[in-house]
Symmetry: C2
Subunit: 225 residues, 2 copies
Amino acid sequence: MEKGVKLFKTWSSPFGIRIVWALKVKGVQFEQIDEDLVNKSPLLLLYNPVHKKIPVLVHDGKPVVESLIILEYIEGTWKQNPLFPEDPLERAAARFWAKFGDDKVMPSIWEAFIKGREEEECAFAPAFENLKFLEEELKGKQFFGGERIGIVDIAFGWLANLVPVFEEIHAIKMIDEERFPLLHAWMQEFSKAPVIADCRPPHEKLVNKFRAIRDQSLLAAAPHA
Amino acid sequence: MEKGVKLFKTWSSPFGIRIVWALKVKGVQFEQIDEDLVNKSPLLLLYNPVHKKIPVLVHDGKPVVESLIILEYIEGTWKQNPLFPEDPLERAAARFWAKFGDDKVMPSIWEAFIKGREEEECAFAPAFENLKFLEEELKGKQFFGGERIGIVDIAFGWLANLVPVFEEIHAIKMIDEERFPLLHAWMQEFSKAPVIADCRPPHEKLVNKFRAIRDQSLLAAAPHA
């Protein structure tokens, strides 16, 4: 059996980056394998035969898949620098917000980003409704995890990476000091935190990637001439 | 602060029933509050302001929501009769299958049930693709949890309750000895297990309820005269 930790990811997927951050916080040494999703490696298909998706964490030859489940596995396996609260009630709340992010916040922002017109803030109205819950949750706290970065911060880290990208492409403000002061401050603090700052994809490269995805999607949705 | 355990649920929701089963397996005393989802109680809206949905578990006055997260909370709070495996890798696998059930198996069966025509098994083809993974997972085991009922059994308990209902309404066979022998045997074993058998909604009442939902959905989808 092959020893060690490997992470199958891509350079830009928020689901992969959250695993990188968690392993770095824990101080776990690991090898990163960047997948080409157009031409997935035989190993990725072997390790995740059900969903055939990244991220996959392979620990001593055994795969774990689904990013939030991988985060639970990391917490259960490497106890140092806890990411989850100890208290069962707080732990349930952390799991709730992480799931809310993937189930509600992410799709609502993505929908507006892909379909909304430029300079049209109102396309983001449903997303703003979801973000209000996060703003509320941050009251009296520096991070979702309190004084230090926890699982909810890591799960929402994509906000700090991608919101500035979407703002630039759409020429609007989403999370600014006026609308979401706490979330805005959180994005700044999270982005520059040690470990996190070192493992963020380059902003310009993300802008190019997501601009291309959006252009392609708009083209596909346009009525034929 | 009010002491004790309360569960907000409905008589038929699979998400509520799985919490009933878990609490019964643990031997936790609790009060059940059946909600009318057309006229939700102020308490439900107070306890679950984000999703406004059942189930909600209220423990000593503090709410926990989202059924899979409630199951984690129950396991973390009452240690007797463990529902999750101890080993982090097996625990990750259990979480994976529970999530797969809610994300993939349930929607694929529901879609076929709502839109498929009677006696038309092929409508269930995508659902069968998902069920094949479960059949594979049951190889060499009586329950998903091994020799005893675990979290994956409880998460998939709705299959044992609802598949016979859908089979009757559609006049087809979905999970039978020929197509899915292990899953078929599991449904029998699970349904008659102590604790589980005592807390299943009556079959005829479920048939009436789901027949009405389907009729209404077909009517709404029909072209207008």
